[in-house]
Subunit: 204 residues, 2 copies
DNA sequence: CTTTTTGCACTGACCGGTCAGTCTAAGACT
DNA sequence: AGTCTTAGACTGACCGGTCAGTGCAAAAAG
């Protein structure tokens, strides 16, 4: 059977899964270690056997989770490039990838937004690194698009990247929370339209 | 400053001010009532004389705060209309108003984002009402713009409204936290450009 | 005189973290 | 084979501290 190495890995994974939903629902401080342990089906001591503290558990969770997002955005951009799509197509593909990601891991993104702009918290620097990695993927696509002349050279790359990220994030979270009856295609096309300026009355 | 209003109103205001920054920094659960009272320069008993509980204090704070935002967005839209501007101009003015608001009350918006998409929390319904009021202001401008033909009839109004709101919110919070050296005009014009589709290489 | 605020001691539930001990499977020794 | 040892993973009762909320008498404000 699975030897000790795998067993531990498995326990850690279950603790992550338990923690991410609980913390997304209730916030870090009002989620108790007992709750996390219970939902993961392990004893409280096991949490501390696997992680130095509640905070460390949370930090590792964040790091692991956002790595998944970054990889997924990067993959979307790369695939578009391989298919010979434009850089604007790549942005569109990344919007889609972002929406897919939030559909799969809603709790993770929920918790990310809830913590990102707080100050004086232990995991502040972890979050900043993590944010920078995600935004950097968007920025590099924007930069390429400006280089190839697809987008205006006037573009403020860092600001636009963070605005795009925010637009997708909030729209997706709102979609999940308040209009879950919409399809992902509806959300995607609303965002695409916004991005491509068709909002401003240019009829197709 | 003015000591307008009754004595009681004054202490309530000071409690709001103390609570909003503390909770934005630390979150609701890890902010103690003693801290709030101390920062407001008031005895702990006074907190409970004025508010039924910590939760109620927070709820009233949210309600009061977002009312300010809604009023400010509405005012921006109305002023544009009075000046005879288009509905797209009104959207632009609302973006500006949103940025101004976040500049003035960063903690409030910080805390709003942190709590909005949580579930199972006492103030969930308060937040939903509050969100609906703010989004409704944007939606009504979008609706008018569609009616006058300024914007495409294909526009998905609720989704676009929440995407716009999110775009401004996240861009502004990122601006404050990570790029405070930028001027409000830079942020504003980056967002305007995004909205008016000039991202896609179309020069004005 | 009424409303509001103060100061402060107190309670009881709750929670992060600890620790001595249990379980199990894989050797090691006889 | 049977018995003993070791190491890693896990357990849960327990401890010490924290904090929302209470109670109340006395002072301040209006």
């Amino acid at each position: 059977m699975d030897s000790s190495g795998t067993r531990r890995q498995n326990t850690r994974r279950r603790l992550f899964e338990a923690a991410v939903t609980l913390i997304a629902e209730q916030g870090f401080s009002s989620t108790t270690v007992d709750e996390i342990a219970e939902r993961a089906g392990v004893a409280k001591g096991t949490v501390y056997y696997n992680f130095a503290s509640k905070t460390v558990l949370f930090e590792e969770l964040l790091r692991h989770g956002i790595e998944l997002l970054t990889d997924s955005l990067q993959a979307a951009a790369d695939e578009t490039a391989e298919r010979g799509g434009s850089r604007v197509d790549a942005l569109d593909a990344m919007i889609r990838a972002g929406l897919d990601f939030i559909t799969r891991y809603p709790a993770l993104m929920q918790l990310y937004v809830a913590e990102l702009w707080r100050t004086n918290r232990a995991w502040q620097s972890t979050l900043m690194q993590v944010r920078q990695k995600a935004i950097a993927v968007i920025e590099s696509v924007l930069r390429e698009a400006v280089a190839t002349g697809e987008l205006s050279a006037e573009l403020d790359i860092p600001l636009t990247a963070s605005a795009l990220f925010g637009m997708v994030l909030v729209a997706a979270l709102d979609w999940q929370s308040f209009q879950p009856e919409r399809s992902i295609d509806e959300v995607h096309s609303a965002l695409s339209r916004l991005l491509q300026g068709r909002v401003s009355g240019v009829r197709p």
